[in-house]
Point group: C2
Chain length 336, copies 2
């Protein structure tokens, strides 16, 4: 049901009944390691190319989610998923083996919540038995696509972020146990004129804030109604900008409650400049730590705000600025 201008409320309480989160060796050393289900022994995932490794990440995350829920891929009605590669080939190529009716999404690093919003809407109205949704990124495949092959070892400015090697997926259903998806707010594209692909956080921060404000307005809520508001991958620079913009809009922004997945993925001794990024960042954080902590009762109301920078290597070469978007999904402590 449409609420306000750009939000949905899910009155039939669709549930995240299972998750699968997989990472690489660098994520295994990271701050969120305890919340991953599995790690690759290296960044190749037994594949001959980084693009195929990214496909493998997604496929394995799906199989983890199937196994944990004791469901088969044949039980899934639909998949809503995507990645950052040109023509989202990792996700589409994984669907050759998965054989589930498939909606390909492109929302850059906002894909995780674009997919979860769709999965929740479909599930809320009995449009599916089970819906699988997720997002994936592989450091070497994505850095090569958007910046330089990592083998070049090129230097990065302090505003740069580290693309996460991770896939996070969830199975959504109208019945079952798990965190409830209570509402979603779909974002508009904002472009504040940032051109630097090493400063995605600054490009995405205004979109994150616009979606948070729209969410609070549409659902008639305050920031204080949430135990935790997690942006996707703004990093340190973007987080500071978002905090300032929210405060300017009159909101009381509490550190520790308004956090960024990209700032929390790695440990302080891991050289990731301004933090983590990538389509797998918010997906892994949400389907890893957030879902676990909602199940354990540490949180009762969480808002995930996945942010995406909608540039391409070509638009950068053509000196275009970077449009950004953010989608928010609210999760509530579990149905059991």
């Amino acid at each position: 049901m449409l609420v306000g201008k750009q939000s949905w409320q899910f009155t039939n309480q669709p549930v995240i009944i299972s998750t699968g989160v997989i990472g690489g060796p660098f994520e295994k050393q990271g701050a969120m390691a305890d919340y991953f289900d599995q790690f690759g022994k290296d960044i190749w995932f037994n594949q001959p190319s980084f693009e195929q490794a990214q496909k493998q990440l997604f496929e394995e995350a799906c199989h983890i989610a199937f196994a944990k829920s004791k469901l088969q891929k044949e039980d899934m009605s639909f998949v809503f998923a995507g990645d950052l590669l040109n023509q989202i080939t990792s996700t589409s190529f994984a669907m050759r083996a998965l054989q589930i009716p498939y909606f390909g999404l492109f929302g850059a690093c906002s894909t995780s919540m674009e997919g979860l919003a769709m999965a929740a809407f479909i599930s809320n109205y009995k449009g599916a038995n089970y819906v699988l949704t997720g997002a994936t990124s592989h450091n070497a495949a994505i850095e090569k696509t958007f910046r330089y092959p990592t083998e070049y070892g090129s230097q990065k400015p302090p505003t740069a972020q580290w693309t996460v090697t991770a896939s996070g997926v969830a199975i959504v259903s109208q019945q079952g146990e798990g965190p409830i998806i209570s509402s979603a707010t779909i974002g508009k594209v904002l472009d504040e004129g940032i051109e630097d692909p090493y400063n995605m956080g600054a490009a995405m921060a205004p979109a994150a804030v616009d979606t948070i404000l729209a969410h609070l307005r549409d659902l008639n809520k305050r920031m204080e109604d949430y135990d935790l508001i997690v942006t996707g991958d703004l990093g340190e620079i973007g987080h500071a900008i978002a905090k300032e913009l929210l405060e300017k809009a009159g909101h009381n922004v509490q550190e520790g409650i308004f956090i960024d997945a990209g700032m929390n993925m790695y440990k302080s001794d891991q050289a990731v400049q301004a933090g983590a990024s990538g389509a797998g960042c918010s997906a892994a954080y949400t389907y890893g730590r957030v879902v676990k902590k909602l199940q354990e009762g540490l949180y009762n109301n969480v808002l995930i705000v996945a942010t995406g920078a909608l540039l391409s290597p070509l638009t950068f070469q053509q000196h275009e600025t970077i449009p950004a978007i953010a989608h928010a999904v609210a999760l509530k402590g579990g149905k059991s």
Copy 2:
């Protein structure tokens, strides 16, 4: 509501209340010219690059659909749209100006029906006031992305298809006048081992047939229940394969009723080898000719089966085969 394994039935009768179809000069000479709303005077659409021309195509198609329906962009709740460029930048960049909450889709040339299925589902359950959906392709931008810049004048084999320069969009609503969206079937990814990006029709034909068979099974229908079944852009080669596969599956396939948008877009004296293709092909054909003929009463039941080849330039370089998908949406003679 889920029907069968992979289909939705829309019992609240969402309606296509407005459309916008725009093409280039080559489409103006084509067989479907009467069903376009507007044409560019050249392929630049007053833009400095082909990619920006593609963005412009989509933006102008939207404005045509707004004007015809006497609605404003502010009236739209959501957009579901995409294109074929890396990171679907044309569509996302158009959203900077349109400022409508936005779901980016990537389904290659199946995007048109991926978006229409979503728009119908959302509208059917009051998830939006109005939903805009569409798909776009620009010959020079897409040929440059997937094959060679058109300025090279490189030769093409007879199996090749001509990427349409067109954008087709529709506004979907739960109320109003126009063709009713009655059901949709979402396809799986099929890969029959075709490697040649100049033979997309052969790669996509099995996916089209798989989705048609799933649709007939899920909805308990026969091909004869439709006045017209239009595949997206199989071209001559793919159409012949699809016809044979359907006949092998025991269906009575009538020429003139089972047709392909890609084979009908241009006149016989236009040198397009096996036919037309591109994300704009099925979109322009559906929102141009099919919607008009449903309104006029020539057809009462039409099934659109948009087909997509999910490759990228990189997967071709890496010698991957071409996975394909098809999504079907059924339209009924208008509500008025």
